[in-house]
Amino acid sequence: MAMEANEIERLIKAALPDASVEIRDLAGDGDHYAATVVSPSFKGKTRVQQHKIVYDALQGQMGGVLHALALQTSAE
């Protein structure tokens, strides 16, 4: 089962309204994505905390429906 790129983007932006989100479909199969999420709210947070915020935004899909989301986060 796959997930649409714009659905991933919508969920992340719903949790992090100030974030800029870029999703790339790595394999063209709607199943392997790379996401870059930049948000000022990441400032002062460790990478683990930043990734956790994005995973939480995906409401449990990560590790389930979304097996392959290569994630890069940054505060600016």
């Binding site: 990478r47 683990v48 990734h51 995973y55 590790g63 392959a68 290569a70 994630l71 890069q72």
Partner: protein, 113 residues
């Protein structure tokens, strides 16, 4: 018979570096796990590994233990360091090498610049 939680805790506490992964370092069964194996092998730091695919309890247990939804997961000196993306980002930035060195762990190679 111990629970997955106890097994994980024992492993994390008894080894300086532990990689919870899909498959084994010799035969990774997922691209993300394979990437972390490559990075650790490159650095030459000794590590223990746990194949989470061996039991359903372990596969779910590690996610609950770390409160982290994906595998692989790397633990250094009892602390959760991150998954594949974080390990790769840290490696590329030279931070992983520094982290290992500061933890008193041997690192074979210098950081690529």
């Amino acid at each position: 018979m111990s629970t997955a939680h106890e097994q994980i805790e024992a492993k994390v506490k008894s080894s300086d570096v532990v990689l919870f992964m899909k498959g084994t370092p010799q035969f990774p069964q997922c691209g993300f796990s394979a990437q972390v194996v490559q990075i650790l092998d490159y650095l030459g730091t000794p590590y223990a590994s746990v194949n989470v695919l061996e039991t359903a309890e372990m596969r779910q247990g590690i996610k609950d233990y770390s409160n982290w939804p994906t595998v692989p997961q790397l633990y250094v000196k009892g602390e959760f360091l991150g998954g594949c993306d974080i390990v790769r980002e840290m490696f590329q930035a030279g931070e992983l090498q520094t982290h290992f060195e500061q933890a008193g762990l041997p690192v074979k190679q210098a950081a690529p610049n």
